[in-house]
Subunit: 342 residues, 2 copies
């Protein structure tokens, strides 16, 4: 079916569901050979990879809760909607295979914004090997909701879960924390991006264009050096707590060891706030937290070195005594929980 | 983790995301052995069925567009949200294996309504073998959005698609049409269900509690007697048009042959309206439309007899001449398209 031409000022309501799907299909590009059937039938059909397990996750971004249409490029919304689901696959050690995009669209969304969102999604889908194979479009009287399902695969012996940690395991974190929370705070304080310095801009980039740690998740899974893994959608405190709870252990996070994004530190210094909470309960740093047994430490560090461009930092330890603690200046205090969604 | 107790008058915002997930997990019951990992990790993990393809689909219901919270039992919303995705699997000949539920929740939704929705979803999930293995919960300032991903499997040689039809194929439809559209019209005219007669009530039931034709889809797929299949979310005109377009054929639907739900006929008679449009463009009858080559007709009818309790009716034919037509009183008129979502 030819793609109908529409004025970029047209709204999605004027274009209609079928034409919107055709616009997506026209942009979706060539599908890999494991996609038996992509966009356009009642469902997508994938050829399973021999000897692997299917890994499936879904996540959504809601306008006004997770993004503002007037603050952010539509492409960043599409990128991030896919990135947060891919981050879940990364935490399982899985390789992406396909994605589904379900949109609840206010009728006044301009076609140019729709196209931008789809393009941001498809660019990350192409880069990560998660081709868009299906989805759904419906109108909504409410906020724009972007719901993404990501599908991946992993060999059974390489599967990482939250629940495999043991007392004594060391916790290793990818990257630095607080950047995304500082980026959001910066945008809340000023929409004039021209006033942001390089560190500010990097924080905003962290917040808007998260980079799911797929490669590192797969490298560590392949090494079989980690006993458990979780991703950090809601901050380090929440992630460490989830991993410990699932592993039926206690946990201590070492405050002094938590790697802080320099832009987050600069933001905190400028506003007279504390830095650590940005890392502990500031959400949206899509990093990975691994638990590593002492006897696999060397193997893990070798795998970590292969995660090029990504520093892994030891930030704490699982232990048999129950409870979730933050160790600060030699004292234990409650770790608290993460970013609260309600 | 123990399920915290909450007053049924409490709102979902008062309960919080983690506790809501625990409530779902506590209700989700025992998982089949192909589910390696269900609710509670970063992603769900499924063991693929040897020799089959993965079939994946996503669909969503939006409050005020697809349902009204004040008209409908929460359990019906949960049921229907899953049913419409399962209907897509049915149209591919696939057997369900798992489901994911993603909710965008207004904070004032009472906990009892949340529980009701989840229970309606889980009851159908249990009945159809589509256990809930994961999902997402987020708050939203807007309407309740229920997004469902359904995952199934089918053997490659049994896969039904929209695009396999050939000129000369006969079109067969499950069930009767117009019931759901009449049910919606009845609810729009009166919310006093006590005034509905048995036919009215059956129409409303069709609208609120659609029964995905999974068994019939699988029986026909197993027989390999159909060349193509599509489900009828948006009416017969849209479905026949989609099947013909994907098969690169024309199509003629025989107006006199279209099976009409008696409640739809009664509603049309009472309101002085036409019956046929309820069937052709009235959406939400989740029936299946099969294309059947003349040389497989006997095999198809044998398979159809095995779809117990479900009548299959010949309603038209694919043809090489392009165009989508309705044959009425010996005249061809344009078939038109289906229910418009925007």
């Amino acid at each position: 079916m030819p793609v109908p031409r529409h004025d970029a000022d047209a709204t999605v309501a004027a274009v209609g569901e079928h034409a919107l799907i055709e616009r997506i299909r026209a942009r979706a590009g060539v599908l890999p050979d494991w996609v038996t059937l992509g966009i356009g039938d009642d469902a997508a059909v994938l050829e399973p990879e021999r000897g692997t397990l299917d890994v499936v996750t879904t996540d959504s971004l809601v306008e006004q809760v997770h993004f503002r249409r007037d603050w952010t490029l539509p492409a960043a919304v599409g990128h991030k909607a896919l990135a947060v689901s891919l981050s879940d696959l990364a935490a399982m050690g899985a390789a992406p295979r396909a994605s589904l995009l379900s949109l609840a669209l206010p009728p006044d969304v301009p076609l140019a914004e729709f196209d931008g969102l789809v393009d941001g999604f498809l660019a990350l889908a192409a880069k990560t090997g998660a081709p868009l194979v299906g989805g759904n479009i419906t109108r909504s009287p409410g906020p724009l909701v972007v719901d993404v399902t990501a599908i991946g695969s992993v060999r059974r012996r390489r599967l990482l879960t939250r629940g495999g940690g043991r007392p004594g395991d060391e916790l290793f974190l990818t990257g630095e924390l607080g950047g995304a929370a500082a980026g959001l705070a910066l945008l809340e304080a000023s929409r004039d991006r021209a006033t942001f310095d390089a560190l500010d801009t990097d924080c905003v980039h962290h917040y808007e264009w998260p980079d799911p740690r797929l490669r590192c998740g797969q490298i560590v899974a392949h090494s079989r050096a980690a006993s458990a893994c979780v991703d950090l959608s809601d901050g380090l405190a929440d992630a460490a707590g989830q991993l410990a709870r699932a592993s039926q252990t206690g946990v201590v996070v070492d405050a002094a060891a938590v790697p802080i994004h320099p832009g987050a530190a600069a933001w905190a210094a400028r506003t007279g706030g504390e830095t650590l909470p940005l890392a502990l309960v500031g959400g949206e740093d899509y990093e990975l937290l691994f638990a590593v047994s002492p006897r696999h430490r060397r193997k893990f560090l070798a795998a970590a070195r292969a995660c090029r461009g990504l520093v892994l930092t030891s930030v704490g330890r699982l232990r048999s005594e129950p409870g979730q603690w933050l160790s600060r200046m030699g004292q234990l205090e409650p770790l608290g929980s993460g970013f609260v969604h309600f």
